[in-house]
Symmetry: C2
Subunit: 365 residues, 2 copies
């Protein structure tokens, strides 16, 4: 029987988890505030040194003229696309079928901005240059998500992005980067954030994924673009009197974790190999290109759940708190490697995967 | 000469300010977190005990079935009006000409929701029953703001609200309460929040005005309404992974300051009388009905600014950091009485106003 709660409970009771930065508890915020002067003034409606200095820092890091702090990526990206559509007088954009805006935002882009989407590529593969060249409709903007999260965090060749960028500039199509996990892909491409962002007209980055902050996002581009984004930020209800709890935590964890992205990537390579060592388990991508990947089981969710729960109880190491059904005979979950992985004993981890492999084999008899 | 910076600087250098709760610095957040268990789990996309318990507490306080926490009132109110417009299939609402949605939100209601506004009353007076009865257009919803902030925080008779409520129910018009300062008006009406809210279909309250939190809002109504508001919250980009910095501070300062609203109101009565004791100064309302009022000078901003700056330097008591030009011969500013007022010596304050009166008289010679 399917007992999703059982798996989550068993996961929560483990002493170690292979994914992430640890629990999202209040300590995360408290740590970020600890060394901040009590008398530091908060930001007021987008103004004040606290928000302005962080925006300047991120604009420089991303190699863009200006950057604006937003409460969420959902808000930042709808606004970016709206600005590019208004510029061209064409309410049409193109992106991957599993783009965040298409599947996770209750159709905000359509319901609030009346922008139509053109879906590039099939949903189980990356957007390639040919998809852009063969696009049958005119659009104001193309959004590329690097890495493509919903298919395990895959990445195109860097040359593909360069060619798409050149094509878009030639054709007067704006190129927007969904860089929710931009920090996480720098080690694989061996590029700076600014180098990658130079291929795009606008870019959004997030501070609660690899960075590990509380929430919040940055939208960057040229000054005309960011000035307009501030007007839309107010319209959306995102121009809060104070955003400093998110800004301070974004800044704190950026300083702490941005430099660890190569470690997270190397750890993801190792962890994915552990998963792939089990006969009926495989990762997508097979060899990760960032700190993330998806783990697929050739067995139903109902079969795998009790096996994992048992494994957690025996080893006190948690692999995932949930499983998503793919077909009736397969299921998957997502891994994002963070600070937790380094805490684990690799010897212990090896045993965990041997045990997992045994249990999975046994269940197939 | 006009030197707005001079006034603000002089204000910031005073030891005491007659308005507000004190500086909006990081201490405000730190105080709210101090007694929260580090291991307390944060909210995740609107779920978790932290957000759910606060929503339940506020629903009960407001006498509504359900309540939803929002990052901002701008977002909450646009969404409330959108839901009522969709329900009726009519994108038209009525409110005061100086409604927050009309003048402070970059036309988000129109630009994002394509909702037209019908302006009730003249901008320098309250909406009365006759304005509603004589409304020439059909609308889906009427928004009442209690108190009407932009005209000094005036309030209609309670009977007027009751009559408007009855009329709206009879005519199938939804009534929404902009309760940004709802807590602040309870002492004047001698009603509970739930009693006032019972006259409305939906209500928004704010946590960083009289309450003194960091940011955040609650939208309350029946379950069908709040369920739909959550979908729109996601569309707006307001369904953050974690809103707990705002929720924890809202809860902390609600517990601390909600009970002090009568004190703030009494203090506002006293402070307004001090202002009115100066010959060329008057408050709107003349006798406050909440913790807020506007102070009007019968002199230009250019005349009053140096007088105030001088007064601050001599007394170290600050009355305002800005002046707004009303006409070429008059200017005004807003007062919101909070915790700062109780700290002040009333004897000292009396001297400050005697000195102000002298300085203003002298400048008119």
């Amino acid at each position: 029987m399917s007992e999703p709660k059982l798996l989550l409970e068993a996961f929560k009771e483990t002493n170690y988890q292979v994914s992430g930065h640890g629990k999202r508890d209040i300590q995360v915020l408290k740590n970020a505030l600890q060394k901040v002067d009590d008398k530091q003034e908060g930001d007021i409606y987008g103004n004040g040194s606290l928000i302005e200095e962080f925006q300047t820092k991120m604009a420089k890091y991303l190699g863009k003229e200006k950057a604006v702090f937003f409460p969420s990526g959902t808000m930042a990206q709808q606004i970016a696309l709206r600005i590019w559509c208004d510029e061209k007088g064409l309410k049409k954009v193109a992106y991957h079928p599993l783009c965040h805006l298409e599947i996770h935002e209750e159709d905000g882009l359509k319901e609030l901005h009346h922008i139509q989407s053109v879906l590039l590529a099939d949903k189980d593969r990356l957007i390639e240059l040919a998809d852009v060249l063969n696009m049958y409709e005119e659009v104001a903007c193309i959004l590329l998500e690097l890495p493509q999260r919903e298919i395990g965090g895959q990445l195109p060749d860097y040359e593909t992005i360069e060619k798409i960028s050149t094509y878009c500039r030639d054709k007067g199509i704006r190129l927007h980067l969904d860089g929710a996990r931009l920090f996480e892909i720098l080690p694989y491409y061996e590029k700076t954030a600014a180098e990658i962002c130079s291929l795009f007209d606008s870019v959004y980055v997030s501070f609660y994924k690899g960075i590990g902050g509380v929430a919040g996002a940055i939208l960057a581009g040229d000054k005309a673009f960011t000035d307009e984004s501030k007007i839309w930020k107010r319209r959306h209800g995102g121009d809060l009197i104070s955003l400093y709890p998110y800004i301070l935590s974004a800044n704190y964890y950026f300083d702490e974790n941005e430099q660890k992205m190569n470690q997270f990537y190397q750890d993801a390579l190792e962890l994915a190999a552990f998963f792939n060592s089990c006969e009926t388990v495989s990762t997508i991508p097979l060899i990760p290109v960032s700190n993330m990947f998806h783990v697929h089981f050739q067995a139903s969710r109902e079969q795998v759940e009790p096996i994992l729960a048992e494994l957690y109880a025996e080893t006190s190491i948690g692999l995932t708190g949930y499983l998503k059904e793919v077909t009736q005979k397969s299921c998957c979950f997502e891994v994002n490697v963070g600070n937790q992985y380094a805490i684990l004993s690799k010897e212990k981890l090896k045993q965990v995967f041997q045990l997992l492999d045994e249990k999975l084999r046994k269940s197939q008899v």
